[in-house]
């Protein structure tokens, strides 16, 4: 049974359900996949520039209607991108969206025997720490929430996916943990690099890994095509000191002592003048880099964009 289904995946005939398809990354995934197989997008937002053959279901993951998507049958894979991470939203809403919604999705994957599940997690689940080894492997503990409680949800989603991986050996569960994704996406790292004058912390210049959004999409595509399961770190091109990244963009920086930056950012955050919560400062203070040897050997992943192209991608027209 599973043998037959696995063959079918390689043929690429079955439906792929993509949650969070209306985000910038989701739309890129849709653009790659819709030429190869039927794509069903699940997202409550509007889908700008939707390819005609993509079936967009405007619904919330927590709604019962989600089950109908699976009931229609022939779902060969699920790609979960629909993780909410907006530190301005309430913790309760976050939790219910990320954990409850994802839990429902996992139930349907198990119930309808979907053979493949790809979950986009993040290397942020490891968290920047002073005692981090230079390169974290997939076995490293997920301490991201230790200093930054808002990302506990993301850690929990990753954990849920892991326990699903163990409970359902017949499903090929793939968890991808990319480093900072750069490009047209609106995440903290890209937003930071788009600032006119990005602040840095005086006396700190950690090594940083970044990855181009298209390389992440390619890795998801590979995870879908290949018969693989497990957790994969994705590291992008060679690591660079933060100062070199900022030099590529040629922007003036604003070095601030950490002891000033933290209270100042807390203040600005409280006044709604910034979109960066203070714990994010740890990312420009400590290393949080990953070893992606596993993705390179098992998934056949290799970044196509070099460091310069990856960093410059944040300047692309939105």
């Amino acid at each position: 049974m599973s043998e037959r289904r696995a063959k079918k995946i390689e043929a690429g005939s079955g439906k792929v359900v993509v949650t969070g398809i209306c985000g910038r990354l989701g739309r890129r995934v849709a653009r790659v996949l819709h030429r190869e197989r039927p794509v069903v997008g699940v997202d409550r937002r509007e889908f700008e520039g939707k390819p005609k053959d993509v079936d967009h279901q405007r619904l919330d993951l927590r709604r019962k209607k989600l089950k109908d998507v699976f009931r229609q049958g022939d779902v060969e894979a699920v790609i979960h991108l629909g993780v909410m991470h907006n530190p301005r939203d309430s913790a309760a809403e976050h939790h219910s969206w990320n954990v409850e919604g994802f839990g429902k999705l996992l139930d349907y994957v198990a119930q309808f025997r979907v053979p493949k599940l790809v979950v986009l997690s993040s290397a942020n689940v490891y968290g920047p720490q002073p005692h981090n080894p230079q390169f974290l492997t997939e076995q490293a503990p997920l301490l991201g929430g230790a200093r930054f409680s808002e990302i506990r949800d993301l850690v929990e989603v990753d954990m849920l996916a892991q326990s699903f991986f163990w409970k359902h050996p017949d499903v090929q569960t793939v968890i991808l943990r990319p480093v900072h994704i750069l490009g047209t996406v609106r995440n903290a790292a890209s937003n930071f690099l788009r600032l006119k004058r990005p602040p840095t912390l005086l006396g700190y210049d950690p090594m940083v890994q970044v990855i181009h959004e298209q390389d992440v999409v390619d890795a998801m595509h590979a995870a879908l095509e290949r018969r693989v399961r497990g957790i994969f770190n994705l590291a992008g091109p060679e690591p660079l000191p933060l100062s070199r990244i900022l030099r590529i963009l040629g922007r003036p920086t604003l070095p601030v002592p950490y002891s000033l930056a933290r209270p100042a950012l807390n203040r600005l955050w409280a006044l709604h003048l910034t979109s960066f919560p203070a714990p994010e400062l740890d990312h420009i203070r400590y290393v949080c880099m990953v070893d992606d040897a596993r993705a390179r050997s098992v998934l056949g992943y290799a970044p196509k964009h070099d460091a310069e192209a990856t960093v410059r991608a944040v300047e692309a027209d939105l």
């Binding site: 002073p130 005692h131 981090n132 080894p133 230079q134 390169f135 492997t137 912390l201 005086l202 006396g203 700190y204 210049d205 950690p206 090594m207 060679e238 690591p239 660079l240 000191p241 070199r244 002592p257 950490y258 400590y286 070099d306 460091a307």
Partner: protein, 306 residues
């Protein structure tokens, strides 16, 4: 107003031009004196011969930047050749490729590490940049963490050590740790217990161990006691009592003459996850080798200061 800003800008460019001129002057002076200390080979050329794993950006994955390391080396080279007038024995016998340097630790301040680094660059063939492991909390300090990373010092976790050896670096380890460096004067040149981690690491990565004996460090700061309550209070590994600090200029280490002895490489094989008792035996062998190198070195030394 417009004239003001143009004046300001002109004085700024003038200022930066002056600074740049001064910088290049200093750089030439450093290069000249280094070339002299290296016995004729140009500083740049010697640095170019150091085997490194640099990325396209000119920095390695751990953040080592040869441009920063160059200036750190110039400073330690001065200590090495002029201040402590180190005599180095056996540096030529350090094998190429991955190496674990295992040394005694002494002197209250880790000058011994810096001098071993200087001699591996100035006296060994091919010249090497040594890597060492630093305390985890040092990463929380501004500038310090940056400097450590750029000159190749990495956070002290086993994963980093393993990765460095796998990329064929020279790794310096003081298995005595903080207890070794803060010895009081009556305990000088007596090795304290060694940790076992380095031996497991060497066996796992099939790395030769080079025993190193450093002589001269114990007399640079003379510690007559250790105030444990104060050490606990300041969260320091020890609080040494050093009478010389009361003298004018006593904050500087005494200009003893250092002797660094590099021993023959030792090779260990077996299961890295063996029982402590098995590993301890091998560690004991290394420790005994270093202790006898120290004893011999002390016997042959004619004077502490010259």
């Amino acid at each position: 107003m417009a004239r003001d800003t143009s004046l300001l800008r002109r004085s700024q460019t003038l200022g930066s031009a002056l600074l740049g001129e001064l910088g290049s002057l200093a750089q030439r002076a450093v290069d000249r004196s280094m070339t002299e200390m290296l016995g004729g080979e140009s500083f740049e050329r010697r640095i170019a011969r150091v085997p490194l794993n640099l990325g396209r950006s000119g920095v390695d994955a751990f953040g080592l930047d040869p441009v920063w390391t160059k200036y750190a080396l110039a400073a330690t080279a001065y200590l090495h050749r002029r201040y402590f007038r180190t005599e180095v024995f056996g540096a030529k016998s350090v094998p190429p490729g991955r190496v674990l340097l295992i040394s005694n630790h002494s002197g209250q301040v880790p000058i011994d590490g810096a001098l071993i680094g200087a001699s591996m660059f100035m006296d060994a063939e091919p010249p090497r940049f040594i890597r060492a492991m630093v305390e985890k909390w040092s990463q929380t300090l501004p500038f310090v963490s940056l400097l450590f990373s750029r000159v190749g010092q990495v956070v002290g976790v086993p994963e980093n050590a393993k990765r460095l050896l796998e990329q064929d670096e020279v790794l310096l380890v003081f298995p005595e740790g903080a207890r070794g460096i803060s010895k009081t004067f009556d305990k000088r040149y007596q090795l304290v217990d060694f940790g076992l981690g380095f031996m497991r690491l060497a066996m796992e990565t099939k790395t030769p161990i080079v025993p190193v004996a450093v002589i001269g460090g114990e007399e640079q700061y003379i510690s007559v006691g250790n105030v444990e309550p104060l050490a606990r209070l300041f969260r320091m590994p020890a609080f040494p009592v050093m009478p010389q600090l009361l003298l004018p200029g006593g904050a500087l280490p005494l200009p003893t003459r250092y002797r660094i002895h590099f021993g023959e490489a030792m090779h260990f094989t077996g299961d890295a996850d063996d029982d402590d008792s098995v590993i301890e035996e091998k560690v004991w062998l290394v420790r005994a080798t270093i202790q006898s190198m120290i004893n011999r070195g002390l016997r042959d030394r004619k004077h502490v200061f010259w």
